[in-house]
């Protein structure tokens, strides 16, 4: 640029230039806002590899992916973590990832490996499902819901809160659960019945869980769409030690959607080797073991020991709904629009 540059910029450039020369190589990991690891874990990786790892938070999963795609000609990072299977097709179609058949994949169950070209590798997964407030149901003497079918029964009128699939990731996952469960022909009928039965649609997870769910201050509805790991999180983050989770997840066959999170090497990185090392590290035992208590999802590598609070207070969903990334990519927009028409208009 030949324009005069504002003084601020000049100062910034001058301040940063010498530092950039002296520092160790920097590897950048781009991810969403929910990324978390234990203290010291990344330092051990940095030390072993002799580099500095920079974690770049880029909004929610959708916003982060959009940024990665927009910046493809001049990538913001070397590695991207946090694409889930609802966005996998979109990410692969954009062609921003480079294949890396990491050795660590050997320990991962085949159901989780959705990309045969190994551009996106599974790191963790979580089950999106119904959660209910145990105390509420015990007090009213009503049986807690066993699955999606219960939600449309008169007994459960006005009890459910879901998230808008157009603005929320668990909301989209739950919509996909119904598509997988009832099929393209049947899912809208289910939603129409649910609407007639007084379902409440909130904007996002926070709004649903902390605004409408009966466990929240001011909330009135005892059934909410959340994760299989929410009951253990309730125990872990309780005010006082709890022997039993105050909520429970509905995990019966065909009632949950398995959200799998992937990591990938961004095309155009100049640090292919260190970037591969980072992916190996994320599939390695230390990182995998660290996942549950920090990100509240399950490690992808089979046999990774789970923390006690997970073992005691939750399980995996039985036979979660399966949809291929291709069918999700082809149907996502259409399903959301049809859902909006059926539930909101």
């Amino acid at each position: 640029m030949n324009k005069p540059v504002p003084t601020i910029l000049l100062t910034v450039t001058l301040l940063f230039a010498p530092r950039a020369l002296a520092a160790p190589p920097v590897l950048t990991l781009m991810t969403h806002d929910s990324f978390a690891v234990s203290k010291g874990l990344l330092e051990s990786f940095e030390k072993a590899q002799g580099l500095k790892l920079r974690v770049l938070k880029s909004g929610d999963a959708g916003a982060a992916l959009s940024q990665a795609i927009l910046s493809r000609s001049n990538p913001l990072a070397d590695v991207f973590f946090g694409i889930d299977n609802t966005f996998l097709g979109r990410a692969l179609a954009a062609g921003i990832f480079e294949a890396y058949p990491a050795p660590g994949l050997a320990g991962v169950s085949d159901d989780l490996k959705l990309d045969p070209s190994h551009r996106l590798l599974p790191v963790d997964f979580g089950d999106v499902c119904l959660n209910y407030d145990k105390a509420w149901f015990a007090k009213k003497g009503i049986a807690p819901p066993q699955g999606l079918d219960d939600l449309v029964k008169p007994l459960y009128k006005d009890l459910t809160v879901v998230q808008n699939p157009a603005t929320s990731s668990p909301g989209l996952a739950f919509l996909l659960t119904t598509v997988g469960r009832f099929g393209e022909e049947g899912y809208l009928d289910f939603w129409k019945k649910l609407r007639a039965n007084g379902v409440y649609v909130s904007t996002g997870w926070t709004d649903a869980y902390y605004g409408q769910f009966s466990r929240a201050k001011g909330g009135t509805r005892p059934i909410v769409v959340s994760y299989a790991s929410s009951p253990p999180a309730e125990v872990f983050y309780s005010e006082k030690p709890l022997g039993e989770a105050p909520t429970a997840a509905v995990l019966g066959s065909g009632n949950a959607f398995r959200q799998i999170e992937f990591v990938g090497l961004l095309k155009g990185t100049k640090q292919v080797e260190p970037a591969r090392k980072l992916i190996d590290f994320m599939l390695g035992p230390d990182f995998q073991k660290d996942i549950p208590l920090n990100m509240w999802v399950f490690p992808a590598v089979a046999g990774t020991p789970l923390p006690e609070v997970f073992v005691k207070h939750t399980q995996l969903a039985r036979e979660p709904v399966l949809l291929t990334p291709e069918s999700i990519e082809a149907g996502r927009r259409r399903w959301i629009e049809a859902w909006t028409e059926a539930v909101l208009r």
Binding site: M1, K3, P4, V5, P6, I8, L9, L10, V12, T13, T28, D33, S34, F35, A36, V37, S38, K39, L41, L42, R54, V55, L56, K57, S58, G59, D60, G62, A63, S66, Q67, L70, S71, L76, R90, A166, T167, V201, S202, T203, D207, Y210, G211, A216, K217, G218, T220, S230, A233, E234, V235, F236, Y237, S238, E239, K240, N294, W296, I336, R345
Partner: protein, 553 residues
Amino acid sequence: MRSRLRYLLLLPPLVFLGVFYFYPLVSIFGQVFSTAAQKEAGGLGKLLGTGYLARIMWFTTWQAALSTLLTLVLALPGAYVFARYDFRGKGLIQSLTAVPFVLPTVVTAAAFKSLLGRGGLLNAGLMKLLHLEGPVINLDHTVWFFLLAHVFYNYTVVLRLVGGFWARLPRDLAPAARLLGASGPQAFFRITLPLLRPAILAASLLVFTFCFTSFGVVLLLGGPRLATLEVEIYRQAVHLFDLPAAAALSLVQILFTFGLMAVYTWFERHTSVSLMPEPARPALRPAGQGRHRLVVGASSAFLALLLGAPLAALFLGSILTEDGLSFVYYAGLWENRAQSILYVAPITALVNSLAFALAATLIALALGWLSAAFLAGPRTRTGSLLDPLFMLPLSTSAVTLGFGFIIALDEPPLNLRTSWILPSLAHALVAFPFVIRSLLPAWRGIPASLREAAAVLGASPFRIWKEVDWPILSRALAVGGVFAFAISLGEFGATVFVARPQTPTLPLAIFRFLSQPGAMNYGQAMAMSCLLMAATAAGFIFLERLRPARGSF
């Protein structure tokens, strides 16, 4: 000669806008539309073809207009009281009215829901009192709920801009009109209101623009059925990946607000009146005696209800635990249960927030001052074009601008995409229109005769500036500074959509808590919000003390 030099004032603001606003926007529009043209632009045609766009535009416009009107009607009496009366705690209350401005929308929404939601405090209380089965107040997912939130956010804009201007109006005009036989309302509508017009217009424009681009509160309080243009842009861009549609909607938004601002600028230029300002420390009416006491009392009570109740609900949420009142949530802030690196010590977050806010405030004040200095000068065509242009960043979709940063600021010397300065720059972009709007009515209102008189009496140009201009402008500058500081502390604007390294701020820490289940997480989010409010109030009180001419507004 002097008028030529005046153009030099414009250089920094124009370069700033060019580099950090127009360049990113042009880049993103260019990239998105060129790729869209290659593929079939089917979605785009559908978007513009059906009544869909018209519906959203209509809704966005009327809700913003209604919000502005409501805010004006509710805040003007307050502005009068603050301009004309002196009472105990005035400075403090005035500082506190700007606190809502910094609250992240998630927190505001949580406060409103815990107060007025179906199971909220008010409904619970009323149900108990009147032995009712169901809730009385059903505001949830209605327009009224977020209109109320808009008033909550913007009350302070009207209070400060209009109140500050009002305090400087000669106070013998209305009594003179009364003496000549005008009734009270006549004197107000024929004399006071026309004189206040520049400030009222400036405040209305800011409030309207703010509400026009409203996003978070509409999503959270209005529910999924109501969408403003900004909400739709976000939906299209982030969740449907339809960037062409998002960009087209952003363009519509920009053009619409530019038109609106051009009309406003024209209007403002033709209505500004210069009047002999009141001295810096005017004799304000003490609120001691009967009727006056009532006026001040009523207005304070109203303020307490409108702004105080939601804030009190937040505070209650931060101390009301399973065991009754306790500070465990605050204590919890200093504890890292998961040993996570994401754990943010409250002090770190606070220091980061304050540093970003300070940088943003300084940039916004400097640029706003220069721009206002130019715009306040003789009427030129350049001025009428630039004035609305300077307002544009306030009305531009945050998602679009954020994405623009990513593709535009990616090469040296502008490789700022992940720099620590980017958040401050982005905040300053939104804040500097506020500084201009705070300064301009005051600047234009300085009578030339005052300067000439000083010159005749032998004052040097510097002395004139120091004795005439500065006392008037410093008050307006402090108001602009408060807004800039608040905008940055609340992380308003494009930064939400910009990648950033580990520099956690208070709002980011609050989002973090609110994204995980568990009683401690919610409680700590509320506690952190209260810390944010306290930091803000302290910052405002500090800024208010900085300005030399204290005692008035």
